[in-house]
Symmetry: C2
Subunit: 251 residues, 2 copies
């Protein structure tokens, strides 16, 4: 019986998954000097949620998250990192999942595995906004970018998950993370400052920012290419690999 | 049948738990200028492991980890933080759990829930070494401190979990974490340097360390108390609350 139910629900990730474990992804993009994330809107419900999914019985967790994101949004090969595990019992709200299932034509009994309690492993992803082509899955009307400061109400604790992902991004701001992903490989100091401002949600003085960034020793400045007006072009920078603010400078 | 089995196995955390989800804790202490962690040795097996456990059906994840640590080691009210989720399918090695169960007098069938695949949510804890009284649980011969550089072989991927916890500790070294936990509330610059050296696994030049730490703006220096030889006593420092290296200094 339980097996039959899971097979019937294959459209919502069906049979053959680990129980009680889900994942959700906060996908960050940077455009128009503001930070954005991806949200799914479920058919006929007005419910918005982060893209997520479940882990197959014979699948590594990290691989499952990549697969889930590809299936639900169309996004491939992106920078993904674990962020936090949301495991409060209060996040168990079977009525929400029931609403989504019903709106998609599925009536399931109370003991259905999708109505059970789930611990969600949250990931955050950084993508180059302009490289991404979005494709919503069968469950969703849309998969769209939303400005981080203008999100609609989200299901369950997804607003908390977004907040935690933002905090993690802020905390990791000075290390490797921002470099290769939200910006092109080389960038100007101004572009870097805009990313910092969008992530931190505050303005930073240009001189303060520049002194601080150069002081961290994590940036490499590149030669300007010679041309008639090269002296007017701003310097381009890139991140040194795996350079942290402290550990390599002692000893 | 499944219910009966879980009840029988109550000594190993029994019936009433979320399936497929475990947790493991890396508990750090600092003593004799070196970093140590807690390990359990299972009865009659020679197997060493991190203290861990499972989440009850009606229990928050973070509360479960606190409870598990208390039950298995006797440690109460400590600083605990999530570290990483270990979810590779390769970590499913039922023979190891079977060995531990058998050594404790439990013969379980193949479909027993404890022999299923588990995703483990790793936590790290920081404790004041001198405050801790260790009490091993019924499954274990001992619960003992081991120097991080001299660990015995550990079961499953527990060595990887330790490595990840060390990396996380290193990455968080300059923020709030070290302050309130591995050291007393006030400390000398030398004590702080010893903690850094133990965590990073390398020596740091005294002048480099002092300049760097003061430059981060996260330390508060306290007045020396007056006495006849007060001028020979080193300055005492404490951490400013939630002060990060960058986010509060811009704008």
């Amino acid at each position: 019986m339980a097996k039959k139910l899971r097979q019937d629900a294959s459209v919502v990730d069906g049979y053959g998954y680990l129980t009680n474990i889900a994942f959700d992804s906060v996908v960050f993009g940077f455009s128009g000097a503001s930070l954005k994330i991806l949200l799914m809107e479920y058919h006929n419900t007005g419910l918005f949620a982060l893209p997520g999914g479940f882990v197959k019985l014979n699948e590594d967790l990290n691989a499952a998250v990549k697969r889930g994101l590809k299936e639900r949004t169309g996004i491939d090969t992106i920078y993904l990192e674990q962020c936090y595990v949301f495991g409060d019992k209060a996040r168990h709200q079977p009525a929400v999942m029931n609403t989504i299932l019903k709106a998609n034509g599925w009536a399931v009994p109370k003991e259905h595995w999708l109505l059970d309690r789930f611990i969600s492993i949250a990931y955050y992803a950084l993508v180059n906004y302009n490289d991404v082509t979005l494709v919503p899955d069968a469950l969703s009307d849309s998969c769209t970018w939303y400005d981080i400061t203008k999100l609609p109400p989200l299901i369950l604790d997804h607003r908390l998950i977004v907040a935690k992902a933002q905090q993690t991004l802020q905390a990791n701001l000075d290390s490797k993370i921002v470099g290769g992903n939200l910006l092109p490989k080389q960038f100007t100091m101004k572009e870097l400052q805009q990313v910092y401002e969008a992530i931190l949600g505050e303005n930073i003085r240009r001189t303060t920012f520049q002194r601080k960034m150069l002081g961290l020793g994590i940036l490499k400045r590149h030669q300007k290419k010679y041309s008639g007006k090269a002296h007017k072009a701003p310097y381009m920078y890139s991140f040194k690999k795996n350079k942290t603010a402290f550990s390599k400078q002692g000893g």
